[in-house]
Symmetry: C3
Subunit: 201 residues, 3 copies
Amino acid sequence: MSVIYFLDLLGTIVFAISGTMSAANKKLDLFGAYFTGFITAIGGGTLRDVILGNFPVGWISDINYMIVISLGVIICFLFKQYIRKLKRTLFLFDTIGIGVFTIIGIEKSLALGIHPFLSIIMGLFSAVMGGVIRDMLCNDIPLIFRKEIYATACLVGGALFIFLDFLSIPSSLNQFLTISCIIAFRILCIRFKISLPVLKY
Amino acid sequence: MSVIYFLDLLGTIVFAISGTMSAANKKLDLFGAYFTGFITAIGGGTLRDVILGNFPVGWISDINYMIVISLGVIICFLFKQYIRKLKRTLFLFDTIGIGVFTIIGIEKSLALGIHPFLSIIMGLFSAVMGGVIRDMLCNDIPLIFRKEIYATACLVGGALFIFLDFLSIPSSLNQFLTISCIIAFRILCIRFKISLPVLKY
Amino acid sequence: MSVIYFLDLLGTIVFAISGTMSAANKKLDLFGAYFTGFITAIGGGTLRDVILGNFPVGWISDINYMIVISLGVIICFLFKQYIRKLKRTLFLFDTIGIGVFTIIGIEKSLALGIHPFLSIIMGLFSAVMGGVIRDMLCNDIPLIFRKEIYATACLVGGALFIFLDFLSIPSSLNQFLTISCIIAFRILCIRFKISLPVLKY
């Protein structure tokens, strides 16, 4: 099992947990919570594969994704009180997940001959669209449009990845550097309360 | 015309009616009501075909779906007062529709070599995603996440279908038993007020 | 560069501007505004290509779309006060955009052998679904379901296009007549305050 595949499954389970916990805030039932966790985990990758015409989409041909998602939802139900106290650990895993999904999206797109700039967009989609669909399902304005800096972290990390790839840096080193950059960028933005300007009239 | 194709069209018209009536509660105009009925009827099957990479999606290559949807919307407009009194009949047809859509989703997935467990998910998607998209359009939290037991009925019916298929029960008998199971399960849940536990903190 | 390709890019930039301005009303940040503008501009065409199984979708294989969208968002940020006063110009460009997207959707569908009636639906999807997804993202009931007559304008224009195509009118003349019809229809509806009846109980 390659490192990136392992990290992909890790990202999937963390996204499933974040989706399930967001469903809990809406007092959804067991099915609603499972479904929301599931959509959060696979939404971004599914949309990416559909736009790229990459069929069948990833999770439908590999049962492991479904297994880790189910595991994530079960963990949420059994240890919900405990998970809430793990905010920092979850935040770190979540940021790793975002980094991994960004890289996978970019690599898949570049392999299909997509323009590097559009590949970064596909990396972004892989990382954030699961959360966007989760927020649409739960009837919220997507979180990434308002508070979090993490979409910007994906774009910065994605640009770095493309740049290092252009310099022919070995793929696994590039992956490591990109994920580190995304984590560092996100932590620094939160530490120093950096946020994007708001457009208004 | 095969029985399952007839039931598919029946499910489509019932879903179109339920979508149109839900639009009426939001005071949408004629177009909005038609559109909502249309999306409710074809949303689940479209999403299933897109995830499976099954192109072109069903309704775009068979005009009959569009015809029955238009029929459903017209019926709603002409007989709206009368339809509201038919709650029980509509409920029965709706449950038949859910059963049929579940079976079609599972059969299409199995035929493409999808894992049985994931085929049940695809059956579920076929049956419920039209309603989920309808609720997202109408700016509601999806109904299936809160009240109805019918997603669970799809999963139970789907599991039965896979099990009987594994036992090599003839396809049409299996279809009949699965739909009966889904109808019975749903009615029993409502009769005895069975619902899923809610996840909250 | 053909006229229709030029108009397609013009429609894309106008849709990007309308999406960005709608994001501004929700006080989204820079990224949220860009993302909303982007989704508004490419949402309809993406959904059309996905339903038709037309991969990869248009904007992912032609960087020009991304360039004009970025241009539209930048224009919004730099000249936001000025743009608000250009309501009439924007309205005209927006209507041209709708007409162009309708025609492109219909032509692509007919070329794939889709039934003429369903081709009109695909034209409609191309024109309106970007705005529908924008409204779903921004947590509004889609505008086209409540006030605007423009979905109806697409359907009327689409029907005219199919009719003239059936009469073997040359394609570019047909395009010109259809866009003129959509613009005229929309302006007349607004001038004479024509709207569709509302379905309610």
